[in-house]
Symmetry: none
Subunit: 191 residues, 4 copies
DNA sequence: TATGAATGAGCGTTCATTCAT
DNA sequence: AATGAATGAACGCTCATTCAT
């Protein structure tokens, strides 16, 4: 966690962050058809600078997905021993939908492009996220907050659905709250 | 503005239908990145024949969406006076998700491209579909089968979510049934 | 040998020939680093027209080499039963050097690019050329016009050497005659 | 214009030599398409260090060619008063072909790029080499070892031819010996 | 002085669209 | 009416070269 020994890379680091941020936004807007040139233009860096940080378009996508996946995995972990498992689970679900806007699209694009989603850093992050999510799900079920006939497949499907629709339809916060409310009611145990 | 008589268009009509069918399949497989040339090849017609029927790629997309929207609108209409409003509503929801696989992607592509989704034949079809859906929703609510705090916005969001996720993740029938089950439980009136 | 049944392709055919011609010249001048754009520009056709005829740069190279190889093979064949084997052999050698300007460079470029030089139409043409050359060589040796310790390897090396140097140094006819004269003296049987 | 003193350039000198060596090898392998970055990487120096020594890629090429030309000129000089002019000439020819592998390609690349081959240090080296070669040629002719109707143009053409073909076809030592044998027989006086 | 990050021109290739046949 | 050849803009990517550290 100490400062790295190379102060030279201050600008390079800033450029990387900037490119990632812009790329996230551009991809959310234009989908995977977004061009590297457009990303470079909006990040106000040269085209080759993007390529220095991310040697292919695919690598850029993968970096974005990996970053977001890690964030979600981290959130799962910090909720793992929450004293209220039900609330923790629903909070995680909401966080995942809110933060992973556009991610599923990228994951699919990567899969289409033949990237092994379970390999490398992305695979690691993915497993961490899934493991964390499963813990939250099981604890919520044990606490009686979530119906028992739910598995990871259903959870993944629901989260994906919400992510994709929120992304493409630009859900505002109000709509998201109401739709997730419906989801959560559906997830409650049947009385 | 009157429909012109069509004495010679027997083969042209057949070509149009054929191109539409093939385009639907190709787009479902390759997404909106599918090329006009590929569609022409698979339809076994010349490239310019496709362009005669659909002056731009966008127009072809629009035609597909319009057709599918009309089908869904028709389904809503035929369920409009079903004697069991609750069943009718859920059947319609399921039909919409099942049949419009790949459609949402197109709608978004159109919207991205600046097409006014409410204009022209597509707008007409869209309004018919929404009107039909609203009737089904209201009747189901009046019958006590669907919670009262649902509006068309929530309905659209839910249908979209299911369509997009089903499309991108290749839900099998079993998973779709289970996920829609959760949706429908969430839509039931709170007891 | 009859006219092909498609008169439509008159212009396409002319473009193909034109592109091939220009490409031969451009490649002779700029080497394999010549750009497709430059070829298109000089041929006064659109870039995509070049690609319609030759789907990759490699394919264009291969087409050129194949064409030239065929011409040389044809020349070998028509000299195969010449009544003066010595003259026939030397005439063939001269023809090969004169006509295949720049070819060796392309062959090597293809080999570098991983093209199997013995496969497909090029391989066929290549074998025909080598077979024809061998016949001429053996006959010349039997007639006492060429030293016996010559094999196809040496022949290939000598022809290549002359081709490459003629190409890169822009030998005029006079110099070519004198240098080939030295070659031919070297090829004569030792007295 | 005077040579500046070089008190501090011990490492710079070493870098220059190292870069030149590596560049020679890389260019022999990858041709003139080799990238400056690759050369820097293999020389284990920074990219800008290469550019400090050689302000352009062209300059690097020129330096390599100049160095090799100087070596050949030196060889010519040391053979200039050999007691056996015929042997000396053929030894020089062989040395030139053997050592200048890859050089002709560079010379041509330079010429294509518009570099005046007769200017600067390269021109000087070139003249020295040609002068030395001419002396060897004339002495060999006077000694009756080489035919009289040979001039520098023919000599240059023959050496180039052998260099280029040896380079591009990866002649092994055996083949080179045999082919040069044919060349030398051709160069002998006609009996 | 040495480094490597940044840059933009250029390359091979694809695609929607137009036009001559 | 139908065809497919022609076109140029755009894309992903690489490279020689410059500049800030």
């Amino acid at each position: 966690m100490s400062d790295s020994p190379r102060p030279l890379r201050a600008d390079a680091r800033r450029n990387r962050v900037r490119v990632l941020e812009v790329a996230k936004a551009v991809l959310a807007r234009d989908g995977t058809a977004a061009s590297m040139r457009e990303i470079a233009r909006q990040a106000e860096v040269g085209l080759a600078t993007v390529y220095r940080q991310f040697p292919t378009k695919e690598a850029l996508f993968e970096a974005i997905v990996t970053e977001q996946t890690r964030e979600i995995a981290g959130q799962a972990q910090s909720l793992a021993d929450d004293e209220n498992p039900g609330e923790a689970f629903f909070a995680f679900f909401t966080y995942a939908v809110t933060s992973s806007t556009g991610q599923k699209m990228l994951v699919d694009a990567l899969a289409d492009a033949g990237v092994d989603i379970n390999a490398g850093e992305l695979g690691q992050a993915n497993r961490a996220m899934l493991d964390g999510a499963e813990i939250l799900l099981v604890r919520a079920q044990q606490a009686g907050a979530v119906r028992k006939d739910m598995g990871m497949r259903e959870l993944g499907a629901l989260v994906s659905a919400a992510c994709l629709a929120a992304e493409r339809q630009h859900w505002d916060e109000d709509l998201r709250t109401r739709v997730l409310g419906i989801f959560f009611d559906g997830l409650s145990p049947r009385t």
